[in-house]
């Protein structure tokens, strides 16, 4: 897994590539916690190059969302590909979080 966070005036785009599994998901969670501690509250997870996600990844995502909630923050997603989209659908995460076609569309949605 590789994580690339790009700040922008509306929020932070977090592009994640590779696999988000039991070994790598904690790295994602840690990274987002640091950004939140640094004051960020609006995130777009760009999953267009994420090939795989397991429940460990879902766990880290939900844990992050729960931290953002009381801060009025948002965790949005874009670019979900086949297997990742399937996991989001099966687990109900697809309706728990806003999914967008692109990072730009996601940031636009919050006005």
């Amino acid at each position: 897994m590789e994580i690339l966070a790009t700040r922008n005036d509306k929020g932070t785009i977090v592009a994640i590539s590779g696999k988000m599994d039991a070994v790598t998901a904690p790295v994602y969670e840690q990274k987002l916690r640091e950004l939140i501690d640094g004051g960020e509250t609006v995130f777009v997870n760009d999953f267009s190059r994420l090939a795989y996600i397991s429940s460990a990844g879902l766990r880290s995502i939900l844990a992050t969302a729960k931290i953002l909630k009381p801060k009025q923050g948002t965790l949005m997603f874009c670019g979900l590909t086949g297997p990742v989209r399937d996991v989001f659908e099966i687990s109900g995460f697809g309706s728990l979080f806003p999914l967008h076609p692109s990072p730009e569309a996601a940031l636009k949605s919050i006005g």
């Binding site: 039991a22 070994v23 397991s54 939900l62 729960k66 086949g82 996991v87 099966i90 687990s91």
Partner: protein, 141 residues
Amino acid sequence: MSQRSLRLEARIENLEAMLAFVAESAGKLGWLGERLPNIELAVEEAAVNVCNHAYPEGEGFIELSAGGSRDSFMVVINDAGIPFDILAAPEPDLTADITEREIGGLGCFLIRSLTDRVSYRREGERNILQLEFLREKGQEC
């Protein structure tokens, strides 16, 4: 293909070796396409659970066996941990919102959702979990 197997210490650091073993075994049987991520995911969930929960008081092993044909691929996961029947694990609430939704509890659900046939039995001191994947008619496997 005769039955292949890999037995390692049940530790997350060995997860990659386990998944590589399963992917290679599936590949040798011609399972190269769309189903592979499903297979890897189901095996990861089951293996991670053994690493995290099967041996609450120490360390133990996990053994994966793989075999089958182009039409059916079977992975058997075997450990000597506490008895745990995946089929009896409760369904997660998939409709709760972020605040209410509980963290965790998705692993067993994903295994059941992604695997065509799941069976569990306790044999002596062993948990034996069988995950079988079937190729759909006309589908690339």
